[in-house]
Amino acid sequence: MRTPDIAPLIGGIVMLAVWELAVRLTGVATYLLPAPTAIANALISGAPVLIPSAVVTLGLALQALLFALLLGVGLAVLFSRVTWLGRALGPYALVLQATPVVAIAPLVIIWTGVENPRTAILILATIVAFFPVLANATAGLAAIDPGLDRLFRLHRAKPLDRFLRLEVPTAAPYLLAGIETAAGLALVGAVVAEFVAGTGATGGLAWRIVEAGNRLETPTMFAALILLAIMGVVLATSIGWARKKFA
């Protein structure tokens, strides 16, 4: 077994130590920059509220990722079969992708109704996560080896056989790369949408940050940020792991 590289661990400890020392020596106010120990305290004491909120946000992001996957793969398959439809609609998917999600959020919230922030958040996070899935699935379906294509035609492969035995395995590595990007974006989308919705009704982590900010509880804000960062890293690495396994 390889010994893990301890350089990042040392780097982290040194950074935290410098941070702690700087805060203590300068006596900067906690609401401006809390010391790492204060953040750790906030994380521990706030855990009963923060952990369930993290679960809510993670759940929203994962649901949005699932919707994005179904929608993105479904459209990519449709576009590969009905090419004129792909040519007609493809550019508008790009327009949707280029428009910042924060700017679309107020519209979506009006449509879903202010009393349904959960639906609005799901829609917004799905919109953000869907594009890399569509783009990569489309690229994957277009990457069919012409030789294998000829072989399948030679043996008069049925459309379903062609799809399952040729198109799916060819597109899989592309799709997994798209999902890796989409997972991070789904989390970003969920947080941004929750900010814009500006309601505690869903009780996600983004709302905890807004809430703590209003009360100048800066250590709690940092604690929520740490949880978000951990979720993002866990999502990305688990999908990256799956990608390597199937590649």
Partner: protein, 248 residues
């Protein structure tokens, strides 16, 4: 015009192919290959050799005339590249034609085809773990898995080193004899064409027609063959026909 004599497995009758662009690519061609016979095809680049093969496999519809392959079942085809599925094992690659045809017993048939190609120990390996010559053997095993009556090879061993190429050529000869295959072998190499062929067909530049049909004497193939009268004379005849074809 060649009469269909019932013995022919591969059969082309005044076959011509023109592309939608109006390009006249091939023909008219009359050709027949019997069971247990190997016909090599030599010709300048772009003369329509691959078009001829595609017509015989049914991938391309003739513009006029007809092209037929035995009983209508797809023939075994080996392309220039091994064209294997990189995500599947050697055994899965070989079994593919049967799976696509919905035929049962594909695993046993795949094992038998792997044995024919001398690959029985590599069934679980992925193509990436094999050399170029081995991948071509897998491609050959896949072409044979459905017990076809005809085998069409489109410059299959061009990218393989001399030694590997000779052993693949010998494998094709052995399979032809054992399985009574009708073999059509497209190549750029005069030596390979004469070594493998019972007949060597020289094609003209586009639109490809038959310039010469040279019968190679039936002498045992092996290292000695290359210095034999049969080889030297047939190769010389093929070379001069090829030179005539290029000058035309």
């Amino acid at each position: 015009m060649t009469a269909f004599d019932g013995e022919s497995v591969l059969f082309a009758d005044t076959l011509t192919v023109s592309y939608p662009s109006g390009l006249h690519a091939l023909g008219p061609i009359d050709l027949s290959v019997k069971a247990g016979e190997c016909v090599s095809i030599l010709g300048p680049s772009g003369c329509g050799k691959s078009t001829l093969l595609a017509s015989l496999t049914g991938l391309l519809r003739p513009t006029s005339g007809s092209a037929r392959c035995g009983d209508g079942e797809p023939p075994g085809v080996v392309f220039q590249e091994p064209t294997l599925m990189p995500w599947a094992s050697v055994a899965e690659n070989v079994a593919l034609p049967l799976k696509l045809a919905g035929r049962a017993g594909s695993e046993a048939a795949a094992r038998a085809a792997l044995t024919l190609a001398g690959l029985e120990e590599f069934d679980a390996v992925r193509p990436a773990g094999l050399s170029g010559g081995m991948r071509m053997r897998v491609s050959l095993a896949r072409a044979l898995v459905g017990s076809p009556k005809a085998l069409l090879l489109d410059e299959p061993f061009a990218a393989i080193d001399e030694l590997g190429r000779r052993s693949l050529d010998d494998l094709v000869l052995r399979l032809k004899a054992e399985l009574k295959l009708a073999v059509l072998f497209v190549t750029h190499s005069v030596e390979e064409a004469v070594y493998l062929g019972d007949r060597v067909i020289i094609m003209t530049p586009r639109p490809g027609r038959i310039q010469a049909d040279i019968a190679v004497p039936n002498e045992p193939r092996g290292d000695g063959f290359f210095t034999s009268r049969a080889f030297v004379d047939s190769a010389a005849e093929a070379r001069s026909a090829l030179a005539l074809s290029k000058a035309a």
